[in-house]
């Protein structure tokens, strides 16, 4: 991930794409954040890798959203003959309980995407908040937060997740989200902290201080917006890890086996010895789906790198 430590001089490099230009013209009526999003998407689309990632992610999201219309059967209905291989009715076969794997795959995307993005967002929010505070105020505050971050980094996340999930009685989706977020905020926090302390020494921050701005405003309105692409990249990394973490927890049976997600398909596949019964598609399909989601997020992350560092842009 590229960390910006100095902004490119416009005179030397020409206009930098992705940066806004004033007098937005025909987009004037659209509110600021939406315009920003539109601009970001346009720039990402220009990058080949990011475009591929956006397309894959788009397909997965659309499939998950329109699951009730796309899935041929209900994912939980057990009225099929169990342990079937792929056939005309069940394209990917059936589980040991007589459920259609293909429908499960389609519906499963919902939970996986939800948990992945929710946990990623939570982890990033925590990382940004703590990182901003630690980076802006060197001294005791920084030391304390730094220590806690180091502690969180040192403890291996998967074992911790397992312990937490096993310990907490409820196995709802939101528990999973919290558990995953709790174990993955530390890396992002470290990055945010160092970027904040770089930006803190910039003259435009000093002049904001000289204008008499208060601390929260300086941190959230002057420094944070300069870190947008870093936050976005951090979010995508966290979401990628969260997707895998959720699948792992479900696979280990620490999730809610009643819900349908790609991880639970794998859980049942393991429980029901799918490989022994020759139902290798039941393992391959959700595995590929998880991999595809993670790859798409990573590809988009490449695009964000290119957004903030013009040198990484592909040759036209």
């Amino acid at each position: 991930m590229t960390v910006i430590t100095s902004l490119p001089r416009p005179e030397a490099r020409g206009p930098v794409a992705g940066l806004p230009s004033g007098n937005a013209g025909r987009w004037r009526g659209v509110p600021g954040p939406l315009r920003f999003l539109g601009r970001a998407l346009r720039t990402l689309w220009a990058n080949g890798k990011a475009r591929a990632g956006l397309i894959i992610l788009g397909v997965l999201v659309v499939v998950a959203l329109f699951a009730p219309w796309l899935a041929p059967h209900s994912p939980t209905a057990t009225n099929f003959q169990p342990y079937l291989g792929p056939n005309g009715v069940n394209w990917l076969g059936t589980t040991g309980n007589g459920q259609d794997v293909f429908s499960q795959l389609i519906y499963g995307g919902r939970i996986t995407l939800l948990v992945g993005f929710a946990a990623g967002a939570t982890a990033t929010a925590v990382a940004v908040t703590l990182g901003l505070i630690a980076g802006y105020r060197p001294g005791i505050v920084d030391e304390v937060i730094g220590f806690v971050t180091n502690l969180a980094l040192v403890i291996p996340s998967l074992p911790l997740m397992i312990i937490l999930a096993a310990y907490l009685q409820s196995h709802s989706i939101w528990t999973i989200v919290l558990v995953v977020a709790f174990t993955s905020w530390a890396m992002g926090c470290r990055v945010m902290r160092s970027q904040t302390s770089t930006l803190r020494t910039r003259e435009f921050v000093t002049s904001a201080v000289f204008s008499g701005e208060r601390l929260p405003r300086i941190v959230f309105r002057e420094i944070l917006p300069n870190m947008t692409s870093l936050v976005a990249a951090s979010f995508l990394s966290a979401a990628t890890a969260a997707v895998l973490a959720e699948a792992s927890l479900e696979f280990l049976g620490l999730g809610n086996p009643a819900t349908v997600s790609w991880g639970t398909i794998l859980y049942y596949a393991e429980q029901q010895n799918a490989l022994l019964t020759g139902q290798w598609l039941m393992v391959l399909a959700p595995g590929l789906a998880i991999a595809a989601l993670m790859v798409s997020l990573t590809l988009i992350n490449f695009g964000i790198d290119a957004l903030s560092n013009p040198r990484l842009r592909e040759k036209p």
Partner: protein, 343 residues
């Protein structure tokens, strides 16, 4: 003398991901003889840095060399890529960057940076032992008038002028035939600037490499160079020997630049500037781009093409200029007062 570097028809553009293409350098022809010291002068945004980068093949996206032949000692450099380009860098040209003082690796000692450069471009038969590298590094530092003790220092322990000298020494480590200095003294104050320029001048005289000095400060360029090229809006508008320029007849833009200096010892100090600002490269008017700020400008200026013509009345046959109208005895019109900035 055979020409060391010949560039014909160089055109460089910036192609941003969104937005139109900008021509940063247009139709530049230039010839550098071996051992010459040439200056390229112009305001910010005129394309001089881009040209310097183009000549040393340092352009990065979104900048692109659109067309032009660049021949270095007979080899067509414009077509080189990858490993062959890297080898060309080894014994060909070197570039000292504008913020060269910031180009030093902050977590490594100066000695390490020299060793890095020498090892990366080692020729077969080069002695790469630690002692040999240290000896060569110390020699280079002494050439730029630094104490070899600096080898043990880190970048942040050196002052701006010292770091700039280290950058220059690094550039000379591979005995290049051509060195391009991009605004080497812009961030330095006036006394240090003089010292660094003196060093550059002496080095060039001693070692005989061809040097190109890029700067917006005509005074600095005139201190050290043999020949001066003036750029405006991506084009070369004048090419003249330095000694001539001080005395002789110039393009109106050069004239305007010359008037920007004030003598603190004079009885009445007058500061002059050039009113207005350099044009937006996306919206260049027809004809001469300097017209809005030119003291001599007339309607006829919108019709000229910007090709360089020899100045017949000049003492030097190589003096060329893009302005066909300003002749030696054209009286200078009354200086316009600097008015409100035109956007």
């Amino acid at each position: 003398m055979t020409a060391l570097l010949e560039a014909r028809g160089v055109n460089v553009s910036y192609v941003p991901a969104v937005g139109q293409r900008i021509w940063a350098v247009r139709d530049v022809d230039l010839t550098l003889e071996a051992g010459e010291f040439v200056g390229i002068v112009g305001e910010s945004g005129c394309g001089k840095t881009t040209l310097g980068y183009a000549l040393t093949r340092m352009l990065r996206p979104p900048a692109r060399l659109e067309s032009g032949a660049i021949t270095f000692d007979g080899t067509d450099v414009a077509a080189l890529h990858g490993e062959r380009l890297r080898r060309q860098r080894r014994n060909g040209f070197a570039l000292v960057l504008q913020s060269g003082m910031n180009a030093l690796n902050p977590v490594r000692t100066v000695a390490h940076q020299f060793a890095d450069v020498m090892k990366a471009h080692a020729r077969p038969g080069d002695d790469l032992s630690r002692a040999a590298i240290t000896r060569r590094s110390a020699e280079l530092l002494e050439a730029v008038r630094l104490d070899p003790e600096v080898l043990r220092r880190f970048a942040h322990e050196l002052s701006g002028g010292m770091r700039q000298r280290v950058s220059i020494a690094l550039a000379l480590a591979l005995r290049p035939r051509l060195v391009v200095f991009d605004e080497p003294t812009t961030a330095l104050d006036v006394i240090v600037q003089q010292a660094v320029m003196q060093t550059i001048k002496d080095l060039q005289a001693e070692r005989g490499f061809t040097a190109v000095l890029i700067s917006h400060d005509l005074g600095v360029v005139l201190e050290t160079t043999d020949r001066v090229m003036v750029m405006y809006a991506g084009r070369i508008v004048e090419d003249q020997p330095a000694a001539e320029l001080i005395r002789g007849h110039h393009h109106p833009y050069t004239e305007a630049l010359l008037r920007c200096y004030a003598d603190p010892r004079a009885d009445v100090v007058e500061l002059a500037g050039i009113p207005g600002s350099p044009p937006d490269l996306r919206n260049l008017p027809a004809g001469c781009p300097f017209l809005p700020r030119c003291a001599f400008g007339t309607v006829a200026c919108t019709q000229i093409d910007m090709s360089l013509r020899p100045v017949t009345t000049s003492a030097d046959p190589d003096h060329v200029t893009a302005c066909p109208f300003v002749l030696p005895d054209t009286p200078v019109p009354a200086r316009p007062e600097p008015t409100a900035v035109k956007p």
